[in-house]
Point group: C2
Chain length 121, copies 2
DNA sequence: TGCTGAATTGATGTAATCATCATATCAGGG
DNA sequence: CCCTGATATGATGATTACATCAATTCAGCA
């Protein structure tokens, strides 16, 4: 398994989880799967507008990180979240981001990192 | 701000959030800050065992991603989570990982990605 | 068996991230 | 004012991730 490997220290496993989530295309895919429960590659292709091999590579990453599972029925491959909890995590992230960005609106440059650190690069 | 920038599509902002979290050292730092509310660089140095400049670089990443804020009092720099919700996100991730890894124990190779995909590389 | 559509893999170049080490800034005490 | 401890930045090389395009596998059908 290598990525979500329970023999590693927890903070490393956790970092790997986030690493799997750390790309906009992969977020889109996971949100599609959160909403639809299951989706074929073809469906995700039209939903995302990505080129086939590009999508496939990101799906491979998601598989490698143990975030999705796939199943071939006839000539179509269907993907599903490997764990329902993943959609929960995305939901929480969405809510928290909502709050964070709302904060940001009112205290924009506090959050911007510019004034708090003498010389933010 | 550039990283947690509300003008971008949401899935990109979300991916950036996860990108900031996608490293074991940074997870450790954030968990220290979740527990302690505030910590000096010196404290984090001893807590993590990292070399000073190495820790500093990761702190810079966390600042850049808007996940922490820092404040200098005398010659000591203190760090804090930029948003309390971040510790909430980590908490949720921890819980979910607990469940996922528990699953994994009983269905280890289902999660491993090996049997579900004909030729996992 | 040879096509065709669906999806994956491989190869390549480029860019981003990480670790290490050396150097720089910054505040306070001598 | 310079020294020291605390922290941050810069430069370098190594590794890993990303995008693009070509080639491959695989299932079903003519």
């Amino acid at each position: 398994m290598a990525v979500l490997d329970e023999r590693r220290p927890l903070y490393e496993i956790k970092a790997n989880l986030f690493k799997g989530l750390a790309h906009p295309h992969r977020i889109r895919v996971l949100e599609i799967l959160s909403a639809a429960d299951e989706a074929s590659v073809a469906e995700m292709l039209t939903a995302t507008g990505l080129e086939a091999s590009h999508l496939s590579q990101h799906l491979a990453v998601l598989r490698r990180y143990g975030l999705v599972v796939s199943e071939r029925r006839a000539s179509v491959v269907y993907y599903r979240l490997a764990h329902p909890q993943i959609s929960e995590l995305l939901r929480v992230a969405r809510v928290l981001l909502g709050e964070i960005l709302a904060d940001t609106d009112s205290q924009r440059d506090l959050v911007a990192g510019l004034p708090t650190i003498p010389d933010a690069r």
